[in-house]
């Protein structure tokens, strides 16, 4: 209902950027200024490139995750999906001598299939997505470990280097992976805002039953968003392999929490029906900045997750406050 109507009935002054995004831009600007003043190595090209390159995989998966969460769903299996893709692609790169394009194609195929399984379980099983994807998290991790066969994949060639964080992964100093993430985010933003089927995602998140009665193909939409998230997880896995080297058995663990943190900090409501991809891009950037800041200030690395936790609480808390004010108007 309101969730469907909201983007059309914005206040005239508000454009593409409002609410959470504006706050986030402010917070990031503040953090960067403070860091620039206190650490003289912060505003070096290599540090900024490093932040963007590490943020890129989180952003890429976050683009899909935003769509999933907008439908009032969630996908906690993305970390395991990435592990499966990484081990398959890494082995093919090393043993099969795969070229760049086939490798990316293989990654997209594997990721898409795993995402489609999630989508089928959620769409046809009509069960709560968090529980189902917890299940597939275990299943996919098993598949990945089975393919690893008890040892890591070492000596992966640098075929996917153009997507990695190294020197060949940059043009004009900007990491390709991050540019790709921004392009994907822009596509998803346009889709969710201007294409009817994209707008249906908000309707499903607002009230799936009402959306179905209004003629939205709920099952088909759910299948699509989970499959797209799987595809994007496959793409993010390519960025993580990047320059090659070693793919450890722990690949991708904890990724789902980082991605969900980025999406939620970006202002997407976990109850569905509200949120934008732009917020997710900024949320991922904030998480990346915090991680880099903790390292640069030579604080213990373990503090990073404390700050991420606090940022989640502050971001969601301020969103709750705004929501309450909106209702009382």
């Amino acid at each position: 209902m309101t969730a469907l109507a909201r983007p059309w009935t914005r206040r005239p002054a508000a454009g593409a950027i409002e609410g959470q995004e504006a706050v986030l831009i402010g917070v990031i600007a503040l953090l960067w200024t403070a860091l620039g003043l206190s650490v003289d190595t912060f505003f070096t090209a290599s540090n900024l490139q490093n932040i963007l390159a590490t943020v890129a995989p989180v952003t890429i998966v976050g683009v899909g995750m935003t769509a999933v969460i907008v439908t009032a769903g969630i996908d906690v299996s993305v970390g395991s999906t990435m592990a499966v893709v990484m081990v398959i692609v890494a082995q093919q790169l090393r043993d099969g001598g795969l070229a760049f394009a086939p490798a990316v194609g293989l990654a997209l195929l594997v990721g898409g299939v795993l995402g489609l399984i999630n989508g089928a379980l959620v769409g046809y099983g009509r069960v709560h997505p968090i529980i189902i994807t917890f299940g597939t998290l275990n299943l996919y991790r098993f598949v990945a470990l089975q393919i690893f066969g008890g040892r890591e994949v070492a000596g992966v060639p640098g075929t996917l280097g153009p997507l990695g964080g190294g020197a060949e992964g940059r043009t004009f100093g900007l990491p390709h992976s991050w540019l790709l993430a921004v392009a994907l985010a822009a596509l998803m933003w346009a889709y969710m805002r201007h294409v009817p089927t994209g707008r249906h995602l908000y309707a499903i998140g607002g009230d799936a039953e009402a959306a179905r009665l209004a003629g939205v193909r709920v099952t088909r939409r759910l299948l699509t968003v989970y499959a797209v998230t799987g595809l994007l997880a496959g793409l993010a896995a390519c960025c993580m392999i990047g320059g090659g080297g070693l793919v450890a058995q722990s690949a991708g663990t904890g990724m789902e929490l980082q991605v969900i943190a980025a999406v939620v900090i970006g202002g997407t409501s976990i109850q569905g029906g509200r949120g934008t991809v732009l917020g997710t891009v900024l949320g991922a950037l904030l998480v990346g900045t915090v991680t880099s800041a903790v390292t640069l200030l030579s604080w213990p690395n373990e503090l990073t997750s404390l700050f991420i936790g606090v940022f989640i609480l502050v971001a969601v808390g301020s969103d709750l406050l705004r929501e309450r004010r909106r209702r009382s108007l």
Binding site: G135, L313, G317
Partner: protein, 366 residues
């Protein structure tokens, strides 16, 4: 405050087995019983599992004997898992998507606090035990405050506090475990006890920690006003509010109790490892995920208001004995891989089953 009935915690499986109209054939009746009475289904699965492992054992497929002594020793991992699954049950029962992703982190952080008290500050056992449980309750109360008072979705609140607690646990002792002499002596809490009547030795914590927790939780949800309010709030929040129940208060207490139970699990874990490990509850996939799996497998509906203590306990037993059997069947690291597979398959199958059972229940009552 809460009137407690004097009746003993009798067999929980017979509560609704006899209800409902008489179905036509015995087979259909069995099918319906298995679909609607989760405890009956789980007991059947448990019997099948043990029988099958016995067959494999006879046939010489196993690396070691799957006998009573091995099954009793496997109860060591059963105790913390079952306590945490009961904690998840309380939170999930309270409804509105209630879930607690932070139990593993609470186990880590409370375990570190307990380790500091016993191992670094030299407190005696009993005061530190009480203080650790209070500490765990406080951590749970933070979750409860965020969810019940401030209105955070519980998934987000506990995701964030889980991050924060696990980070604090790691930072508190520079990422190193506390294993001074007094902490190592805590291992006595979890030694094996010999039983009469030729029964195999059983871990002590089964009697000193798990049984009291299980009985108290059973009494709490089945025999107190709080328990009824918990089911009421989880089943229909609006109706509960119109019935003048303090919805926020009930939910807050559910989260605080989950913290208390995590504290108990933390103490057990410290005793078991003979050291307070900063990543005790968060290493690998952590403890929260298995705990949620067991709760759902035990018939706790993720939508709230449906779930029983007996189901959760039998589900925990099933998972633990299945895991123990898998370790005997596969050599090396393959065993822990197949445990992941088993956990995932069980979780998906039980969720789909819950959905089917719930849909049939709604159709019948309509």
């Amino acid at each position: 405050m809460m009137p407690q009935s004097t009746s003993e915690p009798a067999d929980t499986t017979t509560r609704d087995g006899a209800a409902g109209a008489r179905p036509p054939s015995p087979l259909a009746r069995l099918g319906r019983l298995l679909l609607h009475d989760r405890v009956a289904l789980l007991v059947l699965l448990l019997a099948v599992l043990v029988a099958w492992m016995k067959v494999l054992d006879r046939g010489g497929y196993l690396l070691g004997p799957y006998d009573a002594a091995y099954m009793a020793a496997a109860l060591e991992s059963f105790v913390p898992l079952c306590i945490l699954a009961l904690a998840e049950m309380l939170v999930i029962l309270s409804g509105r998507g209630g879930i607690d992703l932070s139990v593993g982190a609470m186990v880590s952080l409370t375990g570190m606090a307990f380790g500091f008290m016993v191992g670094e500050w030299g407190w005696p056992l009993w005061p530190s035990l009480v203080a650790a449980l209070a500490f765990g309750t406080a951590l749970g109360a933070v979750n409860g405050f965020l969810v019940a008072v401030l209105g955070f979705p519980s998934l987000i609140a506990t995701l964030a506090t889980g991050y924060a607690y696990s980070s604090l646990a790691l930072v508190s002792h520079d990422n190193a475990p506390i294993s001074t002499k007094p902490v190592q002596d805590l291992h006595d809490l979890t030694s094996m006890v010999r039983l009469p009547l030729g029964l195999p030795p059983v871990p002590r914590q089964f009697f000193t920690f798990l049984l009291p927790c299980a009985v108290l939780v059973w009494l709490l949800v089945n025999r107190t006003a709080f328990g009824r309010r918990l089911y009421a709030v989880g089943t229909n929040e609006t109706a509960a509010r119109y019935a003048a129940l303090s919805v926020g208060g009930v939910r807050f207490r559910a989260f605080a109790l989950a913290g208390l139970l995590s504290g108990v699990a933390a103490v057990v874990t410290v005793g078991q490892f003979a050291s307070a490990r900063p990543d005790a509850g968060t290493v690998g996939n952590g403890m929260a995920l298995p705990a949620i799996t067991i709760a759902v497998l035990g018939g706790v509906a993720i939508t709230g208001g449906v779930g029983r203590v007996g189901g959760v306990i039998v589900a925990a037993l099933l998972v633990v004995w299945l895991n123990a059997g898998i370790l005997l069947y596969f050599e090396g690291s393959a065993g822990s891989r197949y445990q992941l597979l088993a956990l995932g398959v069980l979780l998906i199958a039980s969720t789909l089953l819950n959905a089917v059972a719930g849909r049939r229940r709604r159709r019948r009552t309509r």
